[in-house]
Symmetry: C2
Subunit: 565 residues, 2 copies
């Protein structure tokens, strides 16, 4: 590798690009920006989690100088346990992020000796030939930062996940001061958050939500139940502030909400006067118009506190009563829409009135819209531009936006995960495209997952399984009995008996006269799949997974015909 | 049943209520409004379609006087083949709807002797003691109607699926004349479309889309590819109009789009000058800026023309070239979002620029927003109100809206499918709640589907199947061989071999010393499931479906242990 180039490699991602991890390499030095996990989509039944494939880092393990983390969301920190299990490298993050990183590592049973370093916005750290400076950005979690990175090739700016909010509820506004201080200097490269490039204008300030919440609580004659993301500390602060103003007390329910409120209070990220938070006994003693309940469940998670309320689960600490107002102060993350809708419907059925983002401004999101993206581009005026944190279409739109803001057309790069972009001081080129794999977490297995495993799961889900056990007399080369057919998830039991009996006949006819070939497992396997498959399709128009098992009797030997076929 | 009451029963629906079918009953007369199908959700793997459960109608088959159809979308006509297969009853619809009904019945192989009657807006038909009058409404398919129904108990108005558009592109505006003519008369009951009750204001006119399409085509330097719903004839007309204005020729691709364009031209629902539509040879001879391609695939359907283009499928008649502009003139129906996004990303990857509803006003939907719903309520001023065509939350919001418009609070009924509402001339009551079932179409099976079948499919999808074949010596009551273990969709083959070998040992240990109890299938079944299940969970944290099969050897008898357990 030439030492006069800066290499940029986005890793991880499922649809989204440059979100979970970005590798920067210059000479013998590598730094990593973020180490996040992904959640599987509907094409990956049974898969628990996904990690970026870090082979590139492992192959250059002695060059990795550190991992720099922009903020504490799982898609940016959730793969740290995986990375640190095979790579000993220091991690740098702000204080709130560090708390969440430490909790995550503990939950995932990572080794306790991880070097977790705390940085503050404005500070600089040196990692090999990289000097990384942190600047505050507003996002939907405290202590989020962007990065200004001095490299031998020039200055690299990473926006972090950001929006511009001049009146944030918690923490600092996005810091232009440090970016403005770059003033005279040329910026080589800007990475910028593409999540909401589709949206015109500006993302509204969190302050807007305060007003709406205040009005809702003021109008409510009964209890108000608010659900939001546990890590959205500013929203929790808004709820606490409204409670104080409207003389209500707040009961917190749901494990992750309780944990984070406790931590945030302790660390000074939340402020609430004594006597506002209440416990379960106090809750029950209060009149309904003196109560706010703060709950998990904004994504309709089946075991969350809100969903338990919606389903009248007897284990729930809170039961919905007519007159309750439920505020869903969040948007459904793509993929969760159906769960959130079901929860909303169930709450209405219980007699609650539910207010969600389509009805009133009870949520604003944490990423900048087009005008904010343009503002950043105009402040930084980079020579090269790499849109990150979006699906392919978002990156294309963001690259177009950058070109319209003066970035030379050929200098805006829409990368895919695994692409290797090499930048010199005046020209850049994608020198390698090795689409990076994804590491599956499937139960206790962490690693590659055979495509055949996922394919079989999808086939099984569609039409179920039909197991055919054929006992072959090993001496005589004839069937020792009628084949046994067992099914799961195929057709209704009512229809099944006659299908099975006829299916046995079909198999026996197919094997009739095979003579000694019955002793060849692959022969029996193919005959069973073929004959029974055709028969079942004719009768049901379905194609279940057929699993033939050959048992050899006589000498009581056994074999495994079905396996791996 | 008392003859002086009007009975209202919504049937069908999956989440949505009063959409697919509504039954009206007065004395010995029943009429049915719509007969639509539903598409399965992710909780129903492998299920093809869903029909309303029409047991209520079958039990009163001699009273059913007719089926009145409001418009030709599948969720309103798609169950006609199912209903007509067991009920001989005339169907009444407008001309365009009738065309689609006839096509649907033919495709589903329904009997050819269905009585399909064509009505025109303004006309009246008498069905027993019901007199049904049709009025034009604007919706996203031609010839949509609402209903004014005279009943012995009073007048019932059904909005149909509607929006208010004073400048529709095709067909008549929503007809207030007939509704206004009701002026002096009291209306007993209004059914009204709740789909977009969440949206403030008015749904924009189709005219808005014409302007956007014209600008996009005017700006495009290459080909423009437009995809929309095949039944959205007015949108197709808009594309043809823009083509004429901008001197482009139009190539139609995708089977359903071709079929419906052909039918609509023949029946006079589309108008286009000669020489605008072109064939494949002409397409290839034209310069790119003279071409518009009209395509299926607005929902990202995997076998549609647009998805074939996006995936560079060699079977595609059209290949994407750099400089193509693709317009997705539709919104993703809930559940299709991921497919549409994937298609958009793939088109960008091929070098196209894709314009979709988040970027420009390339689509307006076919249902009224809140102000339109209020307008209808204020025109009709019903005594009773039943919101339909929405999920539970939509019905609650719509009932609230009706109350705010003067409907007495107790007279706005949020029903569920299967509820029986009885209305007298001044009071109403839900007299029966028997949540109506749904009829599954699963391959060739039409009927109830065992919950266990769907449950098994979901379990199989998550962790796969492990088949254990145990050969028992029928004479001696001992194992005739090591158990055979075969898996599908469980874990990677690499990890599997040692798991299988150890699993065999675990099963043998569990059965060791069982003696003659080995001859009890249920005993072996339970022991295998229990011991192997625990072992596999410990090793993998997964719970595959374990299917034990017991084979009796010796006397070469066989049995089916696994089945139905």
């Amino acid at each position: 590798m030439s030492t006069d180039k800066l290499r940029v490699i986005p890793l991880g991602g499922l649809g989204e690009i440059g979100k979970n991890m970005i590798v920067l390499e210059s000479g013998d030095d590598i730094i990593v920006i973020d180490a996040g996990l992904m959640f599987p989509n509907e094409e990956m039944p049974g898969v628990d989690l996904l990690y970026p494939d870090i082979t590139y880092l492992l192959e250059r393990r002695h060059n990795v100088r550190g991992i720099v983390v922009t903020h504490g969301h799982e898609d940016h920190i959730g793969a740290l346990s995986h990375v640190l299990s095979s790579l000993t490298v220091p991690v740098y993050s702000t204080r709130f992020t560090r708390e969440l990183v430490a909790v995550g590592l503990k939950q995932r049973g990572a080794k306790a000796n991880a070097q977790l370093n705390t940085v503050t916005p404005g500070s600089k750290i040196t990692l090999g030939r990289f000097v990384v400076e942190f600047f505050s950005v507003c996002h939907s979690i405290p202590d989020s930062v962007g990065l200004i990175i001095q490299t031998p090739q020039g200055i690299v700016v990473h926006s972090g996940d950001f929006k511009i909010d001049y009146t944030p509820v918690v923490g600092e506004p996005t810091s232009f001061r440090q970016l403005a201080a770059l003033g005279g200097q040329d910026v080589l490269l800007l990475f910028s958050d593409s999540t909401y490039v589709e949206l015109e204008g500006y993302t509204p300030s969190e302050g807007v939500v305060s007003d709406t919440l205040d009005r809702i609580v003021g109008e409510a004659k009964g209890r108000v139940i608010v659900t939001t993301f546990a890590s959205l500390i500013s929203r929790i602060q808004q709820v606490l502030d409204v409670a104080v103003k409207r003389d209500r007390r707040v009961f917190v329910t749901g494990r992750s909400m309780k944990d984070i409120v406790k931590m945030a209070l302790k660390k000074g990220y939340l402020e609430v006067p004594d006597g506002v938070l209440c416990n379960l006994d106090e809750l029950r003693a209060l009149p309904q118009d003196r109560v706010i309940i703060l709950s998990t469940g904004s994504q309709g998670e089946p075991t969350s506190a809100l969903v338990r309320m919606a389903n009248r689960d007897p284990r729930s600490q809170v039961q919905i009563v007519a007159g309750d107002t439920v505020v869903i102060s969040a948007t459904a993350i793509p993929g969760n829409e159906a769960l959130v809708s079901q929860t909303t419907d169930s709450l209405f059925r219980q007699g609650a009135f539910v207010i969600y983002d389509k009805l009133r401004r009870v949520h604003v999101h944490g990423h900048g819209s087009r005008e904010e993206l343009k503002l950043l581009l105009s402040l930084v005026r980079p020579m090269f531009f790499v849109p990150v944190h979006g699906e392919y279409r978002h990156l294309c739109l963001h690259a177009d936006l950058a070109r319209s803001m003066g970035v030379p057309p050929e200098n805006a790069f829409v990368l895919e995960n695994g692409d290797v972009l090499e930048l010199g001081q005046s020209s850049g080129e994608v020198v390698d495209r090795n689409h990076a794999g994804i590491v599956y977490v499937d139960g206790l297995t962490i690693g590659e997952l055979d495509d055949s495993v996922l394919r079989d799961r999808k086939l099984l889900a569609r039409d179920g399984a039909v197991v055919v056990t054929v006992a072959v007399d090993d001496d005589g080369g004839k069937l020792a009995a009628r084949p046994i057919i067992a099914t799961r998830g195929f057709v209704d039991t009512g229809d099944e008996q006659s299908l099975i009996e006829k299916g046995q006949g079909v198999i026996m006819a197919a094997l009739d006269g095979a003579g000694r070939r019955l002793k060849e497992e692959s022969f029996v396997d193919a005959k069973v799949k073929d004959s029974l498959g055709k028969f079942l399709y004719e009768r049901t128009h379905r194609r279940p997974v057929i699993i033939p098992i050959v048992v050899k009797t006589g000498k009581t030997q056994s074999t495994q015909a079905g396996q791996g076929a």
